[in-house]
């Protein structure tokens, strides 16, 4: 049971504090409710580029890295479809530095033509390193576009193409900052060897006077039902053959989220899972195989990913995967198998509490979906799932007409 204290400043900035005196460290995480889904379709990759720009320096701190390193800390950030996170971890006595840094860049960020230009180049290199140079690195471009015809999840976080990043200018950057980087669009968590009362005082001291602005209501388009199967074949340029099968699933808060997550576990969590045992070990068709969910706030993506062994055709590999999906649709799983997967989830949840920074990031995430309490009760939600639920959701999810399939063929 994770004990925490949460409160909101008068400008709308939400805070969560969790004390843990078993670590010498303290972490602070700021989540801004802005991600790739908030981008203009002509300026994709903006949220992630802006994450880089947040390290440009602010009115009172020219170079954020200097105080972080001087304080014996580390900082980093990450962007996904839904939000952007910035975090620092320090020896606990130095945690006020994180308040100072995050408050200053929430209010007085200073993007210059030079920092913008350099970070555009860095992000274009990142695009090449993760998407173009990496085997199968472009798969998210293909899958996103197929699974989401209209929702802004249709482009990946890194952006649709390098040109979108290259054409960003100062006006666009500043506009993005003004619209989204506001206290009433953010959540801060502090975790570690700290006292809650001290953290409340620091919250007020550093963030209390940052003005709120009105946040426009955001409406993301809802996808229509997919009526027929979509396929794409990529030929050449990759070191092995691979197959990806994706389905659109419900949102993070949909009632079947936990059932769907358990279905992905039954298929591929652990070496006793179905895909691993049947397709990798027994039939030896795959070199690696995995099933996972994207976990996005709006309708998510359920993905099955397999790298083929030599001598196996893509058609045969696909057929074998469908047989496993059909098995879940046609036959109820045994109670034992469901229980096994619940036990694994329980372990994973316990181990996710072993890192200070992890806990800080998790607290912000749960608050961002308006369900802070879930951090302690999520296991109950998994426990409620029945074998009948698994079959019902599998039937609904794994429909041929609703699948999106990418083949990587050697030639």
């Amino acid at each position: 049971m994770l004990q925490y204290h949460s409160f909101t400043l008068s400008n709308g900035l939400r805070f969560i504090v969790h004390e843990d005196d078993s670590t010498p460290m303290a972490a602070l995480n700021v989540l801004y409710n802005v991600g790739a889904r908030d981008e203009h379709p002509e300026h994709t990759g903006m949220a992630h580029l802006f994450e880089h720009l947040m390290f440009s320096g602010s009115a009172n701190i020219k170079n954020i890295d200097l105080p972080v390193q001087n304080g014996g800390g580390e900082n980093n950030a990450f962007t996904n479809n839904d939000n952007t996170n910035f975090h620092e971890i320090f020896p606990a006595r130095n945690i006020e530095l994180a308040f100072w840094i995050e408050a200053d860049r929430m209010q007085h960020l200073n993007v210059t033509p030079k920092t913008l230009n350099t970070q555009k180049k860095v992000v274009v290199e990142e695009f090449k390193e993760t998407t173009l140079n990496e085997p199968f690195g472009d798969v998210w471009h293909h899958l996103s576009e197929m699974v989401y015809p209209t929702h802004p999840y249709r482009w990946p976080v890194i952006g649709l193409k390098p040109e979108h990043i290259e054409k960003c200018n100062l006006d666009l950057a500043n506009d993005f900052y003004t619209r989204f980087y506001r206290p009433n669009n953010a959540i801060v968590s502090v975790v570690g060897n700290v006292k809650t009362a001290d953290m409340c005082a620091l919250a007020e001291k550093w963030f209390g006077s940052i003005p709120a602005v009105e946040m426009p209501l955001r409406n993301y388009p809802k996808e229509n039902e997919q009526l027929e199967q979509k396929r794409k074949v990529i030929r050449g340029g990759h070191p092995a053959e691979a197959i990806y099968i994706a389905f659109r699933m419900g949102s993070r808060l949909s009632p079947d989220f936990y059932t769907t997550d358990l279905i992905s576990d039954i298929l591929s969590s652990g070496q006793s899972s179905r895909l691993y045992q049947n397709l990798l070990k027994k039939k030896r068709m795959f070199n690696s195989i995995d099933a996972f969910i994207s976990g996005t706030i709006d309708d998510g993506m359920f993905v099955i990913e397999g790298k083929l062994n030599d001598g196996i055709t893509l058609a045969a590999a696909e057929k074998a995967i469908w047989e496993e999906l059909d098995a879940l649709k046609n036959t109820e799983v045994e109670e034992y198998e469901l229980q096994k997967n619940k036990n694994q989830v329980e372990s994973a949840l316990v181990f996710s509490e072993s890192g200070t920074l992890n806990k800080a990031i998790n607290l912000c995430f749960y608050e961002s979906i308006g369900q802070l309490g879930l951090i302690n009760t999520e296991m109950d939600e998994y426990n409620k799932v029945t074998v009948a639920d698994i079959q019902r959701v599998a039937i609904d999810l794994f429909q041929v007409d609703k699948s999106c399939i990418v083949w990587y063929a050697l030639d």
């Binding site: 078993s22 001087n70 304080g71 580390e74 530095l97 180049k121 070990k281 070199n287 096994k340 694994q344």
Partner: protein, 433 residues
């Protein structure tokens, strides 16, 4: 009227001056295996790691050490690989066999309340591994396929060529596992390696997390009867002196080119170890390093560049690695050489010294975050047979080290004339190789 906001004052910085590690308890099983215990933390879970301090230097055939280690969890004389996986998955346990060049280890994470169900099977893996033909052939096939994907990456190609050049392609630390080596592995190779080395004389156990008093007798019951043996001999790492070269691996259609530079160094027991740790951090060991500041933050030539000192049990090496836009290759190599040169000719300023010292100490402190991290820190010293008290001396050296000493080390270890250069990708902008 101009309203001038008062400038918020930077919070005071407290400097870390010591790393308070919890005491390390050591107990011995009936057969003499030491069990090092870190019993702290708040989560109801345990990590149990059994380490055999033998690796590549003890192989009778390439890749045997790694394969033996990996196959440990693929079934016993009494349980198939699938049954083992089923058992661990049911109790939410996780089992892994990470391989290092110098040792093999079998790691189990378990919730405290399930450890009694998992421990007997865990011990069976160590007592009676099956090394079945079927599992071996699956392992070989998967590794050959993985390798195919790995070898399509420029950074992997460059790194492999670099370590091979530094140590030589027949040296335990220099050879690269290829498809041929995997195919030539036989069941009896694995059995031979296992039977020669995987006994109590080479074993060390690390136990961390929420360790109940009843657990140790249980571990003794299951592993205290592992057969005894003589500790394996150490290894004398001999590397032929060769003139360093610039090596180019041509890869058409690459979107980026990988660059790797490096040289042989030494083990953690060398007197220059703490100093090189600091020097490497300054050059390319953290986000604010000179290479990152210059080549990424200032010029935008790369997404990432870093340097690293790798200490092995019987040797060591230093390397710099990056992937850059094809047009920047020549410029980046020139900048890397310039940064190494600067460390040899300009004394590091006070502010930078202070920053890097504070950064390192904070980073070391973060290793004391949680029992599993602490156990890993201790493990390094235990496995390399270095007294734990050396850690405090290492911390003190970092506090005490002076710029003059770092410059001396840079002149000794960071001369460009001593560095192998490997470039994998296209030759754009780098006509001289």
């Amino acid at each position: 009227m101009i309203h001038k906001e008062s400038k918020p004052k930077q919070p005071e910085i407290f400097e870390v001056r010591q790393i308070p590690l919890p005491p390390l308890d050591v107990q011995y099983l009936d057969n003499g295996i030491p069990v090092y215990i870190v019993n702290t933390g708040k989560i109801d879970a345990v990590k149990l790691e059994v380490i055999f301090t033998v690796g590549r230097p003890h192989e009778h055939k390439p890749t045997v050490a790694r394969a033996t280690s990996a196959l440990l969890k693929e079934g016993t004389l009494y349980k198939s690989s699938a049954e083992v996986a089923e058992h661990f998955d049911f109790y939410g346990g996780s089992l892994s066999t990470p391989f290092s060049l110098d040792y093999s280890s079998l790691i189990m994470y378990s919730l405290t309340r399930h450890i009694d169900k998992l421990l007997p099977v865990f011990a069976e893996l160590i007592h009676y591994p099956a090394f079945s033909e079927k599992e071996l052939s699956t392992y070989v096939e998967n590794n050959i396929n993985d390798l195919k994907v790995e070898l399509s990456k420029n950074d992997v190609l460059a790194y492999r060529k670099l370590t091979e050049s530094i140590f030589g392609k027949d040296h335990p630390y220099g050879y690269n596992s290829g498809a041929k080596a995997f195919r030539e592995l036989t069941r009896s190779d694995l059995q031979r390696h296992f039977e020669t080395y995987f006994h109590a004389g080479n074993a060390v156990i690390m136990l961390s997390g929420n360790v109940s008093p009843e657990l140790l007798p249980e571990i003794n019951r299951h592993l205290g009867n592992l057969r005894k043996g003589e500790r394996a001999k150490g290894f004398n790492s001999v590397v032929a002196r060769k003139k360093v070269k610039q090596i180019f691996i041509s890869k058409k259609d690459a979107h980026q080119t990988a660059i790797a530079l490096g040289r042989r160094l030494f083990t953690r027991t060398h007197e220059d170890y703490p100093g090189m740790f600091v020097l490497n951090t300054i050059l390319g060991g953290y986000f604010g390093s000179r290479l990152m500041e210059n080549i990424r933050e200032e010029k935008g030539y790369t997404y990432n560049i870093y340097s690293s000192v790798e200490h092995l049990m019987y040797d060591g090496f230093f390397y710099i690695s990056t992937e850059v836009g094809n047009d920047f290759v020549g410029k980046v190599i020139a900048e890397i050489e310039r940064e190494m040169e600067r460390l040899q000719t300009e004394e590091i300023g006070k502010a930078e010294m202070k920053m890097v010292r504070n950064y390192i100490l904070g980073n070391l402190l973060s290793m004391a975050d949680g029992p599993f991290n602490i156990a890993d820190l201790y493990k390094t010293y235990i496995v390399e047979n270095i007294d734990i008290s050396e850690f405090n001396r290492f911390v003190q050296s970092i506090i005490d080290i002076q710029p003059a000493r770092l410059m001396e080390l840079a002149r000794k270890h960071l001369r460009k004339e001593d560095m192998w250069h490997v470039v994998a990708g296209t030759k754009n902008g780098h006509p001289e190789i």
